[in-house]
């Protein structure tokens, strides 16, 4: 990996770490209470006491962004975790047994993958009402095939490798080999893919909250912050710029970081015997 690539990787990781830390710290401390309403100070411009200004109810924008970070990370993280926990074993099993089950699984995958998360979110929100869980399920369902496909395609050649043949010869069942030997070898690539999907999930969460299908108030969320304040874009531009830019920065950081991770992981894998 080139030095330039390294710098980019660390820059990306730095942005991600900064925002994640802000989200973590928000559990303990924010400059102001993100829910505290302070009508006399409504719509104040960025200042020393309110670095990013206040919204229409006088709430501190920076504090809300910090609290929003944790929602964003939790929702996106849970969605991806759900997707990996279901998708990866399915993919590994499909590669282990092939045949009709594999075919059926991959067809279902194709179908799920074809349906954008927002349509699932609309359905769930229409049926059970909007909320964080709707977003988690919608993004999670959409991502299952991503991990299933990846796990399957990485696992397939591994069955030809010496270690898995040896394990089979020693009398272990295919199921056992799949989980004991194949899955651990698939994990690193899954991890990299997870960062990529995580960044997409952050974007999706923001979009769904924006149209009101995500986390409900007063719980701060980046997408809803933007939705609530865009009427004020003309008179209080900081309200429209700050949340959007935060989403942008976070996603950018994640993307740069996953690019770097991909490169690091690819080089050893390329030389590996398959």
């Amino acid at each position: 990996m080139s030095a330039r690539g390294d710098i980019a990787f660390y820059a990306g990781a730095g942005i991600v770490a900064l925002i994640a830390a802000a989200g973590l710290i928000s559990f303990l401390w924010t400059p102001h209470d993100p829910l505290a309403i302070d009508i006399p100070n409504q719509l104040s411009e960025p200042s020393l006491s309110h670095w990013l200004g206040t919204d229409a109810l006088g709430r501190d924008v920076l504090s809300m962004l910090m609290a929003g970070a944790r929602i964003s990370i939790i929702v996106a993280g849970l969605a991806i975790a759900v997707a990996i926990c279901i998708g990866a074993p399915l993919g590994v099993l499909a590669a282990a047994f092939l045949g009709a089950a594999d075919e059926a699984l991959m067809r279902i995958n194709d179908v799920l993958f074809a349906i954008p998360a927002i349509i699932v979110a609309i359905l769930i929100a229409a049926a059970f009402g909007p909320g964080a869980y709707a977003v988690i399920i919608a993004i999670g369902v959409f991502n299952i095939p991503v991990f299933a496909r990846l796990a399957r395609s990485v696992a397939l050649p591994l069955w030809q490798a010496g270690f898995s043949k040896a394990a089979l010869l020693s009398g272990k069942s295919r199921m056992r080999v799949a989980f004991q030997h194949i899955l651990p070898n698939v994990a690193p690539l899954l991890a990299v893919q997870a960062t990529i999907q995580f960044s997409l999930a952050v974007l999706a969460e923001a979009g769904l909250s924006y149209i009101g299908l995500g986390v409900q108030p007063p719980q701060p969320s980046w997408g809803r912050l933007l939705a609530e304040n865009q009427t004020l874009a003309a008179s209080a531009p900081w309200l429209a710029v700050a949340p959007g830019f935060t989403v942008f920065l976070f996603v950018l950081g994640l993307n740069i970081m996953s690019d770097g991770l991909m490169k690091r992981i690819e080089s050893p894998l390329r030389g590996a015997p398959t």
Partner: protein
Amino acid sequence: MTVRRAIFALLLMGLTGLSAVSPANGAGVLKVGVQLEPPNLDPTSGAAAAIDEVVYANVFEGLTGMVEDGAVEPLLATRWTVSSDAKRYRFFLRTGVRFHDGAPLTARDVKFSLERAGAKGSTNAQRVIFEKIDSIEIIDDHIVEITLSEPLADFPTYLSWGDAVIVSESTAASNAINPIGTGPFQFYAWRRGAAIQLKRNDAYWGPPSALDGVQFLVIPDPTAAFASVMAGDVDGFPNYPAPENLAVLERDDRLIVRTGASEGEVILAMNNGAAPLNDIRVRRAFSHAIDKETLIDGAFFGRGTPIGSHFPPHNPAYLDLSDRYPFDPDRAKALLEASRFDATRPLRLAVPPPAYARRASEVIAAQLRDVGVRVEISNLEWAQWLERVFLGKDFELTIVAHTEPADIDIYARKDYYFQYQNPDFNALINRLRRETDESERRALLQTAQRMIADDAVNVFLASAPKTSVWRSDVTGVWTNAPIQANDFTDADVLGRPAASLALASSPVFPILPVLGGAALILAGVIGWASKARPAYLFKRFAIFAGTLAAAAVVIFVLLDVAPGDPAAFMMGVNADPASIEAVRREFGLDRPAMERFFTWTLGLLQGDFGVSYTYRAPVADLIAERLWISLPLAGLAFFIAAAIGLPTGIYAAARRDSWIGGAIRATAQAGVAIPNFWLAILLVSVFAITLGWISAGGFPGWQAGAGPALKSLIAPAAALAIPQAAILTQVTRASMIETIDTDYMRTARAKGLAFDAALRRHGVRNGLMPVLTILGMQFSFLVAGGVIIENVFYLPGLGRLVVQAIAQRDLVVVKGVVMVLIAVVVFVSFIVDLAYAIADPRLQRQVRA
């Protein structure tokens, strides 16, 4: 070649659809922004205020009418007499009045209209009042005598409401979609989700309107409302929904902001029927705990008057009780303590959708927290609110504005949602109903106000003003709102030349059958051209059809268990349960689930998506109308994304080591990370609001010509396309780099081809193969992403339709739209699969093996 011809044919079909359009709107048309689209246009069928806002006084008229200061004046009746016991009324009808279909107005129409409103199974929201009519006698063609079963001194006032307008027997059934009244304007066209158009009634009995017509533009979003006023897309809003930026509008001399009186009382309603709020000490504590001034500043941006009872301040009988419970947290705490209030249990505050309610809920939660009361906010859509709070009474606190005039009698209603019961108050209201003497009535009304204030039934928060914004050349519009209506009888647009009205309804092109046919043709053509094996084609098609079937099952199962009663929503706040039951039967909502499923799926196969609960129009037509916006939007975005993404990707690969290559890479990296709706907001605020180059949103309709229509799609398409273009650039670049490094490229160069020539001849075609899948997926995502972007630009496409339908519990529409979205997405991946089969015959063998 065949493929190309097929595409050409498709394009042609599209163009013939577009050529059925006519020129732009006339200038003498008043363009009015409204926040809520009426579910239908029959004011006698439900309580939705949005219906009255369009048709009251404009299309339909009653025997009496309400004028701007709240007085009741003769309208279709020129005068009336009343018996001394307030039970017998005789109305003398105006002569020479004709309905819009040419039929003359007679006493028979009056008898029909009022009897219909009070009939068993009537869905009229004020049926309770019309049921008190004992008999209606036709004295002659223009005199009717109405006998009531009990005295009603306010009867002429009730007759001035939208629920009591006079309709013609021959057209009453179709008034929901094609209203025929006697008013100064007649119904012209309705583009659902976008606009309702009225044109001048030249045969009006009074002086004809100075306007050529009125166009109501549905703009639900406060941001969009602001943008549309700034961009001049509308002439004004009778009820401007975004108080937060009124200050900006007031500074603009193209506009006039007027603040008038309204009948709206915003209250924090409390469930008097259940613990802990059945305890008067707790209710009084809450009344002391809320600081109304702060609340008005926070939720209404200072535009509101504190009130102390359920009565509007502009009314002569108003009694100022706003200081009955002064803001005093300590007293509130003491009262709570005295009542042994359990502070560990949170109270549920149910909040309906309007922005003021959402803001007020947060302020109230904070103020109650200060006196030790925990509040859990749950934001509900109107349908859920009606079902859970209004009908189910399953709530502790809720915030709502009561906008009906003279509605203090709701406190005497049995089983009303806040469950106040006081026999003394009921007796008072009964006396009031009989009393005809003005000063006596005033005294009774004041006693009533004081009684509910003393009982602290609800926390009476504020009288919300009617804030209207109009362009300065608009005259003759209401400043006050004695009734929720917009009477444009006297409205005029000065200094604008009258032009002939050239409004046209959107051409409803049978897009669904066309798409279905195109799918089959395209599949056949591609299958033939690729010499694909029938087995392969069949398998692909089976997957396509199987997916749609599975989707139908999932959609139905999910949405059939959904809470929220569409019938309750349609009928509105004041509806009685029997009317709601009638609507439920009308739409078959009382049938068993299996039966509904088969009706629905069989319908789908025939292109029949059912009938929308709210629009009362075929869902297939609604979707077809919307597809004309959503598909061009996705198509345009797709074109922009491809036009930017492919060339820059190839270029960046070819020059990967130069600084340009690096710059493209970095830009693409950034582009991928931009949330498209944020980009959209930025585009609106820079190019529409600040610079005024583009329209801030909305859609003029294809009949306004392809130019204006495309112009309004360009910014949303760009917002959708730019992040996708960035992704495309990245994928193309990566794929091309792989291709450049292949052996055949090296061979091509070794035989003497220049690098660029080798790339053109051999590289591009091969390198773009993997990009094909991405392109197919991107189209799906552009269709889906449109759902969000349409909401930023208030484009009346599928996305707006589905988000509105969710809010209105119009699940038939949600089911239909999701089905169509999935069909489009699955169809595109079907086509991509087939395209692959052409490009790479190995694939078919692989699948067969």
